[in-house]
Symmetry: C2
Subunit: 410 residues, 2 copies
């Protein structure tokens, strides 16, 4: 299946992405939560009730909106939409922060004439400050009046240090009369040190399906994509991925084939967003796939792949476009996974720089130095010990990262 | 004991440090191993046999000189000295690298008219390249002819990206007729991502003592100092700390008091070197002590302290001089240790910014912003859960780090 369908043919080419699936509308305003005059408050609504499933951060200090949604999602699965702000993460704000979520949501539900517990909430931005509730309340009339079947500036409103918006959609025809859409938008950058960069994603679809299937599919896809760019159990306080499936297309996923098709389409979109997030790493110029194979098992391959991907010396090596492979060997050694130096092969795309732990040749090194000038390539580390494998996307580190994070609040 | 003796009164004030203890001599030359004309090959010798004990890296990919010394130190404990080069780590070089160690040492022993297995070896620099053996051999005559009871340029010869040499010595009087010295020199910087920066330290003393006592003391001191700036089990391929005790002062550590005095003196010197290494972090301007207390146990306190210390966002916060404490909370959450947001207190020196998980006041934040302009201060994170505590020294990250590591080999 993975190789049969070329989803790129079905990519939506206009700016109507999360509102491409039937029955969704969106809106965004400049509420003054972020500094400067920027979009910072977005609303995503389904005209009728929609099934919602979500995957949240594994960080132990979950932000108030995460705690709020997690709790609500254990109680019910049908909602009408979500309010999202950037500029303030409402994290590290304790009970006050949680109560603020309740108040912000209740006030909006009231303005929308919706029953209680219809709306979810997500936030991203600075940690440790209370949400400016009044700025929300004051913005609601405009936010609601601008709702339309268009993304409007929703993808803009969820950005923090992102340099560009990230949104992809697919329109898929199952047979002559059955068509559905999926739209996905994300924010996230700062992947230099992925353990702290907040990632938010909102995915809409008008296809109908089994709730457990949607839940399991989202969980599997997140593990194959967003979790490959974020250290496991090491996410930010706010990371959240929401899937809204409202069934408005009147198309239902019946067969195993149709279900697989949906799952692969979801994978395709989330992979594109994940790579966009890495490539938008604060100041990053490269997105490199780190593949560890031949490890004792998958668990060890994962530990090794993340250790290499997060090594500052590997990241500066990628930025410096110099195949200083000793840094990769050192990172493997530091990871404490099973590895024997004399077994290790290291390849940059098809060029093998290290064979059985030994440097191959100057000629190949020069080819690799050229290769490293590209924006995207793969580094494969074969430990030649077992069958474990794992891959992670990483980026380089550059001066822009320091500028952005040294002065993030000032 | 710790508080009774003010060792600063006994600090040696001249440049004769590792040769301050009787019977040691040193030398250094510009062998051409490092780029440019810089000292890169050093020799430390004791005129008679000296007891040696050492602590090595926990990185699984140990460099050839580490493997060489580890093996030799299981076979014997008495040596005459050590040869040290910078510019090339002889790591990731497999059997060839190990054989190179044998040949380099043998050749030197021959030139010095010493029996086999008299000399140890240490290396630091680029990983993945073979040592230029001939440059060693060609340099031996000059290196040997310049040996004198002076440090010469030995501390210079072991530097890589270090901005300054790090050497401290003590002269201690036990009673009227009994005096001994300790000299300690180290190299190490690049502590931004401490898991890959090589740290070497060479400590000499002319005091005599029980071999097991010296061994245990060095191990304890390294754990209190150098291991507080380097992630446990996460060191570089070459990290090594050597203690040479030749007994030439004819003074022997007899009583428990004398042994403690020596141990505390060793702690004093290694702490000074460790803080120097952090402060010399590539481009670093600050050295900040991160203290985690009130953790469930010491193990969790250690995990938390290292997570905070290694967080890029905390490091850029320190560099940016802005008390963005949410990044500390997020790092604790990411560490997965036991913690309750509503229990957490965060202090910058005596100023409490967070009390029971809540921000205290703008007035205090402003005082802390002033405090953060200083080069050295403490951040205390009290989890208020148990009695576990641990501290780690960390530094800020700045643009210089990128310059140094992006272009380290070029």
């Amino acid at each position: 299946m993975k190789k049969i369908v070329d989803f790129s043919k079905f990519l939506l080419s206009n700016s109507k992405i999360i509102t491409a699936p039937k029955g969704f509308c969106a809106s965004a305003v400049k509420a003054g939560i972020k500094r400067g005059t920027l979009f910072d408050l977005g609303l995503l609504l389904s005209k009728n009730e929609t099934f919602v499933t979500a995957v949240f951060t594994k960080n132990k200090m979950m932000a108030a909106p995460v705690l709020f949604c997690k709790q609500l999602l254990t109680e019910k699965t049908m909602f009408r939409g979500i309010i999202v702000n950037s500029g303030n993460a409402n994290a590290g704000t304790g009970k006050t922060g949680f109560d603020d979520c309740i108040e912000i949501v209740k006030n909006l539900e009231h303005k929308l004439n919706l029953p209680e517990h219809s709306i979810l909430i997500a936030s991203t931005g600075v940690i440790g400050q209370y949400l400016p509730k009044n700025k929300f309340f004051q913005s609601y009339p405009l936010l609601i009046s601008q709702l339309s079947e268009d993304d409007n500036n929703f993808p803009e409103a969820i950005k923090t240090t992102d340099r560009y918006t990230k949104a992809y959609g697919l329109k898929i025809q199952l047979d002559n009369n059955r068509t559905f859409s999926i739209g996905a938008v994300a924010k996230g950058a700062g992947m230099i040190c992925p353990n702290m960069a907040t990632m938010l994603a909102f995915i809409t679809t008008d296809v109908g399906g089994d709730k457990q299937f949607f839940k399991a599919s989202l969980s599997w896809v997140v593990n194959q994509t967003f979790n490959r760019i974020t250290v496991d159990g090491d996410m930010s306080t706010n990371d959240s991925v929401f899937l809204f499936a409202n069934g408005e297309s009147q198309v239902f996923l019946n067969t195993q084939y149709e279900k697989n098709l949906f799952k692969m389409a979801l994978l395709y979109l989330c992979k594109k967003l994940a790579i966009d997030i890495v490539s938008d790493g604060e100041g990053a110029k490269k997105c490199v796939k780190i593949i560890v194979k031949g490890a004792k098992n998958n668990r060890e391959a994962k530990i090794g792949a993340f250790k290499i991907s997060n090594s500052m010396l590997v990241k500066t090596m990628i930025g410096g476009e110099d195949p200083n492979w000793g840094r990769i060997i050192a990172a493997i050694g530091a990871s404490q996974i099973n590895a024997k130096e004399e077994n290790i092969n290291i390849l940059f795309n098809e060029f093998q720089l290290v064979k059985n732990g030994m440097y191959t040749s100057q000629t190949i090194e020069e080819k690799i130095a050229d290769l490293m000038k590209m924006k995207n390539y793969e580094i494969t580390i074969d430990l030649n010990l077992g069958k474990g494998s794992y891959f992670v996307y990483t980026c380089d580190i550059g001066h822009t990262y320091i500028d952005i994070n040294g002065g993030y609040r000032s």
